[in-house]
C-alpha cells in the first residue's frame, strides 16, 4: 500500500501570515486550522495558565461577533470547532460543510484583527470561572489527577518554561487582568505569528482570494520577544522521586524522562520503542507485568513531543492490590533497561512498523487532522512538507536506533519516579486476600510520606 501523499501549497501574505491550501474533494467538508506560535512556555512567573485562559477569551467575541456567537455561528452552519493550548502552541479550528468555508475564515480573521474591541471585564471574569472549573474537572477532582503536573515540575527546572502546567494555578488565574489580556494579544496574536491551513473540498483560487481579502489588511506586529535558551541535558543529575498519598484505590507508579526534542529523528525511534513496550497486548510491559507476572492492572509508555529543550517520555504501571509497589517499579524499569541494552527482535520491529503504517493512514483520513498536522509542521519547523516524510522516517528506524535512543534516555540518573499510594482505609486496603497465586505480598501499601 503506497503511503498517502498530501498535495498542498505553502504561501505567505505581505503581513507575514503563512497559509497552506490542500484541496481534496472526496467529502463535502472543509477544515480550517489556525496555529499561533504561543503556548504556556511563553508565560512568565505569576501568570501561569494565561495562554489557555486567553484561548477561552478568543471565543468571547470580537468587533463583529458577539459573546459565544463564534460557536453559535459555526454550529448553525453545520460545523464543529474548538481550540487547544499546549506548551509550545495554541490552535483554533473549524470543520465545516464545504460551502461555509468563508464563514470559518472570516471568524478567524475577525478575532485576529479585532479581539480587543470586544473585550470586557465581565467576559474575562466569566471565563476565569469556567477555566477554574475546567482545572477542577480535569485535574483536581480526578484520581491521580496531578501526575502530569508533578512530572513537568520534576523534569524541568523551576526557571524553565516547561516547568509549570498549561492549566496554570488558581492563584495566577485569579490575578489575570484585562491589561494582561491586551498585552498578550498584542504580543502574540498577529498574522506574522500564525499559520492558517485549509484542507478539503474547496477551490484554491477562491480560497487564496478569501485569505488575502480577510487576513491581508491585518497589521503585522513586532516579532514576539525571544524565549530564553531552553536547552537541557537529558540527565536530571540524579534520580528524582516523590510519593503521593491520595484517594486512589490502586497504587500507581509513574516514571518520566527528558527525551530528544520533537523533530529530532531520535524521537521517532523512541516512539517505536513505545509501541514495542506498551502498544497493545503483545507489548513487552503488558506481557510481563499484566499477563505473566500479574503484578499490574495496566501499563503504559508514551512520548509527548516538545520543540524547546526536551520532550517528555513517560509511562505508568497500576499496581495490583496486595502487590509490592517496589516490585512493580523494578519490573517496569527492567524492561526499559532491557530495551536499552539488547536490540528489539526483527519481528517486534516488523509488527511495530505495520501498526505505524496503519496509524499513519488513519491519522490522515480526516481533513481536520490533516489541517492540524500541516499547521503544526509549518508553525514549529516552517516545513509542512514533513507531513509527507513522517511515515518514511518511522519506517526507517532500525533496531539499533531504538536501542541507542533508549540507552541515551533511560539511565537511572535521568528519571523521575512518582508513586501514588492509596490513603489508609480505602476500599482496596483489605485486598490482599483476592486470588493471587502469582502475587508477592508487599508490606508498604499504607506508606504515609507525601510531598
Amino acid at each position: 500500500m503506497p503511503a498517502p501523499h498530501v498535495d498542498f501549497t505553502y504561501e505567505r501574505l505581505p503581513n507575514g501570515l503563512r497559509y497552506i491550501l490542500a484541496p481534496d474533494p472526496l467529502a463535502p467538508v472543509v477544515a480550517v486550522n489556525v496555529w499561533y506560535g504561543v503556548g504556556s512556555r511563553h508565560e512568565t512567573a505569576g501568570k501561569t495558565g494565561f495562554a489557555h485562559l486567553f484561548e477561552h477569551v478568543m471565543f468571547q467575541g470580537s468587533a463583529h461577533v458577539s459573546k459565544a456567537e463564534h460557536i453559535a455561528l459555526v454550529q448553525a452552519a453545520g460545523g464543529t470547532m474548538n481550540g487547544t493550548t499546549w506548551l509550545d502552541r495554541t490552535n483554533y479550528f473549524e470543520t465545516m460543510p464545504s460551502h461555509q468555508l468563508e464563514l470559518a475564515l472570516w471568524l478567524e480573521a475577525d478575532r485576529m484583527a479585532t479581539l480587543l474591541e470586544a473585550l470586557s471585564q465581565e467576559n474575562l471574569d466569566n471565563q476565569r470561572e469556567v477555566v477554574k472549573n475546567e482545572k477542577r474537572w480535569s485535574y483536581d477532582n480526578q484520581p491521580y489527577g496531578l501526575w502530569s503536573h508533578k512530572l513537568q515540575a520534576h523534569l524541568f527546572p523551576e526557571d524553565h518554561p516547561y516547568h509549570h502546567p498549561t492549566i496554570g494555578s488558581m492563584e495566577d488565574l485569579d490575578a489575570a487582568s484585562l491589561e494582561d489580556v491586551s498585552a498578550f494579544f498584542r504580543t502574540h496574536y498577529a498574522p506574522n505569528n500564525a499559520v492558517v491551513s485549509v484542507v478539503g473540498d474547496f477551490d484554491p483560487v477562491e480560497a487564496r482570494a478569501m485569505i488575502a481579502r480577510l487576513f491581508g489588511p491585518i497589521a503585522a506586529a513586532p516579532a514576539p520577544p525571544p524565549l530564553p535558551d531552553m536547552s537541557l541535558p537529558l540527565s536530571l543529575g540524579g534520580e528524582s522521586r516523590e510519593e503521593v498519598v491520595d484517594r486512589v484505590p490502586l497504587a500507581r507508579v509513574y516514571v518520566g524522562f527528558r527525551a530528544p526534542t520533537f523533530g529530532d529523528p531520535r524521537l521517532h525511534a523512541l516512539e517505536i520503542a513505545g509501541q514495542i513496550l506498551s502498544g497493545g497486548k503483545g507489548s513487552r510491559l503488558h506481557r510481563r507485568l499484566v499477563r505473566e507476572e500479574r503484578i499490574a492492572q495496566d501499563a503504559a509508555f508514551f512520548v509527548m513531543g516538545f520543540v524547546g529543550g526536551a520532550s517528555i517520555a513517560a509511562g505508568w504501571a497500576t499496581v495490583r492490590p496486595g502487590v509490592d509497589v517496589a516490585r512493580v517499579e523494578a519490573a517496569y524499569l527492567e524492561e526499559l533497561d532491557r530495551i536499552a541494552r539488547e536490540p528489539v527482535t526483527g519481528d517486534e520491529l516488523a509488527r511495530a512498523r505495520a501498526l505505524v503504517e496503519t496509524e499513519a493512514v488513519g491519522a490522515l483520513q480526516r481533513v481536520e487532522d490533516r489541517a492540524d498536522q500541516l499547521s503544526m509542521y509549518a508553525t514549529l519547523f516552517d516545513d509542512p512538507e514533513r507531513i509527507n516524510r513522517e511515515l518514511a522516517a518511522y519506517l526507517a528506524v532500525t533496531a539499533e536506533d531504538i536501542r541507542a535512543v533508549c540507552a541515551e534516555t533511560f539511565p537511572a540518573d535521568h528519571r523521575t519516579v512518582i508513586t501514588y499510594l492509596p490513603a489508609p482505609g480505602g476500599p482496596a486496603d483489605d485486598e490482599g486476600a483476592v486470588d493471587g497465586g502469582a502475587v508477592d505480598r508487599g508490606a508498604d501499601a499504607g506508606t504515609e510520606e507525601a510531598a
Binding site: N133, D347, P427
Partner: protein, 459 residues
C-alpha cells in the same frame, strides 16, 4: 484598528449534494446478514460483526458475563494462544477488538484494504473458535474487580453508576454495571463464558458490516467461508422480563459523599426512551436545544452566564429498551445548589414554553449540516449501519435523517419535551463533599434526600 474590511458577514456558497453512502445488503449461506458500503478513497477498511445479544439479557447472577466473554475472545483460539493471535494481527497492522454493550456484542478490525482477507480470517477465528483458557479468564476477572474499585474512585464514573441505580428498579438489567460487579464477577468461570459465547453463534442475530475503498475486493467471497458456515448455536437465556423499569415516582436526591471534593458531579434525569420511536427527530432537536449544542440552554446558563461549570449537557441515551435521559454538569462545590436549581429551571422551561424560531433553526441547521462531517471516514459509517440492525431500523433511516430533522416544528419540540421530560419524577444524583453541601441541598427541597457516606462498591 484594522477591522473595517470585516464588517460584512460572508454569505454561504451553494451546499454540495450529500447522500448517506448507499449500501448493499445480502445474506450469507447460514442466514447472517452482510452489509457492504463502498467508500472510494478510504483505504482503511472498517469491519464490524454485530450480534444482537448484549448484557441486557444476561441472568442477573451472571452480570458481566457478556463483557468478560468479549474481552476473553482474544485470549486464545483453537489455533493460536493469545500472544500468537495478537502478533498475527499486528503483522497485518491490524488490531482486533471485541466488546459487549447493553444490546449488542461487537467484534471488529480496521485494516488497510490490501490486507483485508487475512485480517478478517483472524477476526473470524477469534469470534468463532475461542477457548477461554481458565488461567486467562481468572486474570481478566481480577482486572475487572480492580476496575470497579477504580470506577468508584472516579467521580464521573461514580456518578454514572449512582444515577443508573437511582432511576432503574432493582430488577432492571440497565441498572447493573455493564461489566459486572464485585458480587457477580467472581462467579464468572470459563463455562459461563462458553455458554454466553454459544448464544452469540446465532446467524439470525448477526450482522456483518464492511466499509471502505473495496475496489477489486470480493467481500462476499472473503466473508462466506469465514462467517457463512453453520456453527453449533445454543439458545440464549430467555430475555429478562424487566430491562428498563423506572424506580422513581417522586423527585429524589441522593448525595454520594466524596470527602474534600472540589466539585460536585451532578446528574439529573429519569428513564428515557428507546431508539426506535416515532418522534426521534423531534427528540433530537429538543435535546440539542436543551443540552446538545454549545449554545444550548443549559450550557449558556451554567457555563457562559454563571461560570459554574466547564460544560453542561443533556441528552437521551437511546437503546433497544428505554435508556437514561440525563442532564449533567460538574460544578464547583460552593455553587452546587444554585447550579442544580438552574438546571431544574431549564428542564421546566423546556416543557412549559415554546423554543424560539431562532433556537429551532440553529439546532436543525447544526444537526443537518454536521451529518456529513460525522460520516467522513469508514468507522462511523460502518458503526451507524450496524446500529440500524441493532435497533431494528429500516435501511433508509440514515438517508431520511436530514429531511426528518428539517420537518421538525416548534410545536413538535414542545410536545417532545412535554411527553419525554418528566419533571415530577426526576432523580438528582450528586457526587460531592456532603459535609459542605448536604445542609444546603436539604434546605433547597429538591426532593426526598438520601446521603450515602462511606461509599464503597458492594462485594
Amino acid at each position: 484598528m484594522s477591522g473595517e474590511h470585516l464588517a460584512t458577514r460572508p454569505t454561504p456558497g451553494t451546499p454540495r449534494a450529500y447522500e448517506f453512502p448507499p449500501f448493499e445488503k445480502t445474506r450469507l449461506a447460514n442466514g447472517a446478514e452482510l452489509r457492504v458500503v463502498e467508500l472510494p478513497g478510504r483505504p482503511l477498511v472498517s469491519v464490524v460483526v454485530a450480534i444482537r445479544r448484549g448484557a441486557a439479557d444476561e441472568p442477573p447472577d451472571l452480570a458481566g458475563v457478556s463483557s468478560l466473554a468479549a474481552r476473553a475472545l482474544s485470549e486464545g483460539t483453537e489455533r493460536h494462544d493469545a500472544i500468537g493471535l495478537v502478533e498475527a494481527s499486528e503483522r497485518l497492522g491490524a488490531e482486533l477488538h471485541a466488546s459487549a454493550g447493553w444490546d449488542v456484542t461487537s467484534a471488529g478490525v480496521e485494516v488497510l484494504a490490501d490486507r483485508l482477507a487475512p485480517a478478517v480470517a483472524l477476526l473470524a477465528e477469534m469470534l468463532r473458535t475461542p477457548t477461554f483458557p481458565a488461567h486467562e479468564v481468572e486474570r481478566l476477572r481480577d482486572q475487572r474487580m480492580n476496575e470497579v474499585l477504580q470506577a468508584y474512585a472516579d467521580p464521573r464514573r461514580r456518578a454514572g453508576i449512582a444515577f443508573d441505580e437511582a432511576i432503574y428498579t432493582e430488577a432492571s438489567a440497565y441498572r447493573r454495571l455493564l461489566g459486572g460487579s464485585r458480587v457477580t464477577v467472581p462467579a464468572l468461570d470459563p463455562d459461563s463464558l462458553r455458554a454466553r459465547h454459544a448464544a452469540w453463534m446465532d446467524p439470525s442475530s448477526t450482522t456483518i458490516v464492511v466499509g471502505g475503498d473495496l475496489a477489486g475486493v470480493d467481500v462476499r467471497g472473503i466473508m462466506e467461508p469465514l462467517f457463512g458456515t453453520a456453527i453449533a448455536a445454543e439458545a440464549g437465556a430467555p430475555p429478562l422480563a424487566v430491562i428498563a423499569a423506572s424506580a422513581v415516582d417522586t423527585p429524589t436526591v441522593r448525595i454520594v459523599h466524596r470527602p474534600g471534593a472540589v466539585q460536585t458531579e451532578v446528574r439529573v434525569g429519569h428513564v428515557g426512551l428507546r431508539r426506535r420511536i416515532a418522534d426521534f427527530h423531534a427528540v433530537s432537536v429538543m435535546s440539542a436545544i436543551l443540552g446538545g449544542l454549545f449554545g444550548s440552554r443549559l450550557n449558556m446558563r451554567l457555563r457562559e452566564e454563571k461560570g459554574y461549570t466547564y460544560g453542561a449537557h443533556a441528552g437521551f441515551d437511546l437503546r433497544v429498551h428505554p435508556g437514561p435521559f440525563s442532564a449533567s454538569a460538574a460544578v464547583d462545590t460552593d455553587n452546587t445548589v444554585p447550579a442544580v436549581a438552574d438546571l431544574l429551571g431549564e428542564l421546566r422551561r423546556m416543557r412549559e414554553s415554546d423554543v424560539t424560531a431562532d433556537e429551532l433553526r440553529a439546532a436543525k441547521d447544526y444537526l443537518i449540516g454536521v451529518f456529513p462531517l460525522r460520516f467522513e471516514t469508514p468507522g462511523p459509517v460502518v458503526g451507524a449501519l450496524a446500529g440500524l440492525a441493532t435497533n431494528g431500523l429500516p435501511d433508509d433511516e440514515l438517508a431520511r435523517y436530514r429531511p426528518g430533522i428539517e420537518a421538525v416544528t416548534v410545536a413538535d419540540v414542545r410536545r417532545a419535551a412535554e411527553e419525554h421530560i418528566h419533571a415530577d419524577r426526576l432523580a438528582i444524583v450528586l457526587i460531592g463533599d456532603a459535609d459542605r453541601i448536604e445542609a444546603d441541598v436539604a434546605a433547597a427541597g429538591f426532593g426526598d434526600l438520601e446521603v450515602l457516606r462511606d461509599d464503597a462498591p458492594a462485594g
